[in-house]
Structure formats: C-alpha cells, structure tokens
C-alpha cells in the first residue's frame, strides 16, 4: 500500500483489547468504543479468526456494560447521600 501523507502519523502505542498485547498501528483495526469514549483497538489477525473475534469482543463489551452499570450505581448512591 502506498505510504499516506507524512502529516498523518501512526498512533504511538496501541493495546489490543482481545489479547491485551501491544500492537503496531500497521497491524491494528478499529473496534467499538471504550468506556471513556476512545476507540477500542484489536489486532487485524483476530478479524480472521471468526470465533475469537466474536467471543472476545462480546466479553469486552459485556465488561464495559458492567462497569457502566457500577458507575451509574455509584453516582446514584452518592446522590442519595
């Protein structure tokens, strides 16, 4: 693939949400959204393993939902106090 414009830089450090290993921007692909609104990233290799791709992302998003619920519950408790 031709190299894009030099004004566009690779994201410096990325961590795969599936295998939790550092991944280079060249080997990364965009996934869904993290709790803080940032982009969740995974290794492109996982996209080719259908089972891993689905089960791992589902587990990741399930964890996010639980964290969101816990956060909302804490806010509710703090407001009640």
């Amino acid at each position: 693939m031709p190299i894009p414009s030099p004004s566009i830089t690779h994201t410096p450090t990325l961590t795969c949400v599936i295998c939790h290993a550092p991944v280079s921007a060249r080997e990364a692909t965009a996934g869904s959204v993290q709790l803080d609104g940032s982009l969740a990233i995974a290794c492109t290799a996982h996209l080719r393993e259908r089972r891993t791709w689905f089960t791992a992302w589902c587990a990741f998003e399930s964890q996010l939902r639980h964290k969101q619920q816990a956060k909302a519950a804490n806010v509710h408790k703090a407001a009640a106090r």
Partner: protein
C-alpha cells in the same frame, strides 16, 4: 492499519483486500462491531447488490453467533453472546439516504447520495473511489473519534483531504 494524529478528530482504518468477496466478508465482520458505536454509512457504487451480499453474510454470521451461544455453558459468555445476537437482529439496513423518519442504523449510499446533507454518524466505510468534494461533504457530520474505513489502494483524494481533516482547528 490505523492512522491517527495526536489530537486528531478521527481514526482512519486503511484495509487492503484482494477481491470484492474478501472485502464484503471483512466489511461484514467489522460492521458488526462498528454498529455498536452508532450510525454507519457505507459508500458503494452498486448499493443494492452490495447490500444484498452483506445481508446474506450478516445472516450467516448471526447464525454462527447463535451456534457459539448454544455451544457454551459459561453463563457470562452466553449472556454476552445473547446481547450480540439481539443487537445483530435489531440492526436495520437501507439504501436510501437518512431522513428524520428513517429508523435504519446502517446506510448503503452511492457517491451521489453522499453529496447531500447527512445526519451525525460514527463510521464511514469507503468501498469505491470518491471525489474530493464528496469526501469533504460526507465527512463533515462524522462524529469526533469516528472511524473512516478505506478499502482498496490509497488514492490522492484521501491524502489531500483527510490530512487536512486530521489537523485540529
């Protein structure tokens, strides 16, 4: 390959596939994830044909996810896969531009249809060559932190326009 500049508005995911079959396969798997993030727009030449291919792949994927759910005894895994199944079932597709009344989440639009006013969205898939003016117009409502997925070789319009869009105002 992910491209993103420090403080930039969007992420660009540049993907190279050899055949259109591979592209529709790759796009469908990726689309399931990005559909969680919000409205998706897919730019394609022949939207009706491409949508029918993606729909078939989507149905096959849905069946496979259901099989994954059925084959696990882990309660948490089952719940997370059930959520995915429900999400995939709830996704609706359209080949008409978004309107205030439309309920669809995934739009397959031609370059001509992209040259209209679009509502805010989270992901743009580019599967065909677009004119710089069309890219400029189509990316205007793309939300901050949104993703542009480009299939095929990197061409000049992406370089010029998207490089500009990456710089902070």
């Amino acid at each position: 390959m992910i491209l993103h500049s420090e403080g930039g508005r969007w992420y660009i995911d540049a993907r190279l596939t050899e055949t259109s079959d591979q592209m529709s396969y790759d796009l469908t798997q990726h689309l399931v994830r990005r559909a969680h993030a919000g409205t998706v727009i897919v730019a394609a030449d022949n939207t009706k044909v491409f949508l029918s291919v993606v729909r078939k792949r989507w149905a096959k994927l849905l069946y496979e996810v259901e099989c994954m759910r059925s084959s696990t005894l882990d309660r948490e895994k089952r719940e997370s896969l059930q959520y995915e199944v429900d999400h995939m079932r709830s996704c609706t597709f359209a080949t008409k531009p978004p309107s205030p009344r439309s309920q669809s989440r995934i739009y397959f639009l031609t370059p001509e249809q992209l040259d209209t006013t679009l509502p805010p969205y989270a992901t743009l898939y580019i599967t065909t060559c677009l004119e710089p003016s069309v890219i400029h117009n189509a990316t205007r409502p793309l939300a901050g932190g949104g993703v542009i997925v480009i299939y095929g070789p990197w061409v000049k319009p992406y370089d010029d326009l998207l490089a500009q869009q990456f710089q902070l105002a």
